[in-house]
């Protein structure tokens, strides 16, 4: 049972480059999330999805895009990388809304550096 799988684990980008962070879960969870973690700032929600075909913005969506074509996958796209996007990115999933009895399951993270 893999849980939430993120790839790659590490990546270095030059300013202006683009890339896609992959996230897949095998728990048949409806809800999926992308967070970024910066030192002293905790986790900030970038985008989330309540099901296939449905996505919505979180607290810090600028500079990112997402898609949810299947229940399993929730990729995060950076179109024009900027140094401010240097961070650790965590994907998470939950069976139902966090308002219910459904905690988040996290992936192992992707450490991204933009230089």
């Amino acid at each position: 049972n893999a849980g939430v799988t993120q790839t790659p684990k590490f990546r270095i980008l030059k300013i202006g480059q683009s890339m896609t962070l992959q996230c897949a879960q095998d728990m048949n969870h409806n809800y999926m999330y992308w967070y970024r973690q910066d030192p002293g700032m905790g986790l900030k929600l970038i985008y989330y999805s309540v099901g296939a075909g449905i996505t919505d913005k979180g607290e810090v969506p600028n500079g990112y895009n997402v898609s949810r074509s299947t229940t399993e996958d929730f990729p995060l796209r950076l179109e024009l990388a900027a140094p401010s996007q240097t961070s650790v990115y965590f994907c998470a999933s939950s069976y139902s809304t966090p308002k219910g009895n459904s905690p988040l399951h996290f992936g192992n993270g992707t450490r991204l550096t933009v230089t």
Binding site: D56, P98, N101, F106
Partner: protein
């Protein structure tokens, strides 16, 4: 602004000392509350959660937390910490469709 506040950024304790990490939230209405732990080099894991009922909840590894509605607080406690408790601890509040996290408290336990 609505937020989750953790008062301590870095706490250093010796083994067997007691621990209390503060968490306050400013969201109105009914909320569900969580503590997550992130051990060095690992992803976040659920430590404990409060949904309703007894405001004193017990989690894994001897941790507990008390929900005090009048103070909008959900402090984490452990009577006697171990070196293996060295980690970063995040308080979180769930909204309708997502979870909001505090900035985290880094706990260092000296052997």
């Amino acid at each position: 602004a609505q937020s989750v506040s953790q008062h301590n950024h870095h706490v250093i304790l010796s083994e067997a000392a007691s621990l209390e990490l503060g968490c306050n939230y400013s969201y109105g209405g009914t909320v569900n509350l969580f503590w997550y732990v992130q051990y060095p080099g690992q992803h976040l894991q659920l430590l404990l959660k409060y949904f309703s009922g007894d405001p004193l909840v017990k989690g894994i590894k001897g941790f507990e937390a008390e929900f005090i509605k009048s103070k909008f607080s959900f402090n984490l406690r452990k009577p006697s910490v171990q070196w293996s408790d060295t980690a970063e601890y995040f308080c979180a509040v769930n909204l309708i469709n997502d979870m909001r996290f505090g900035a985290g408290t880094r706990l260092t336990v000296k052997p």
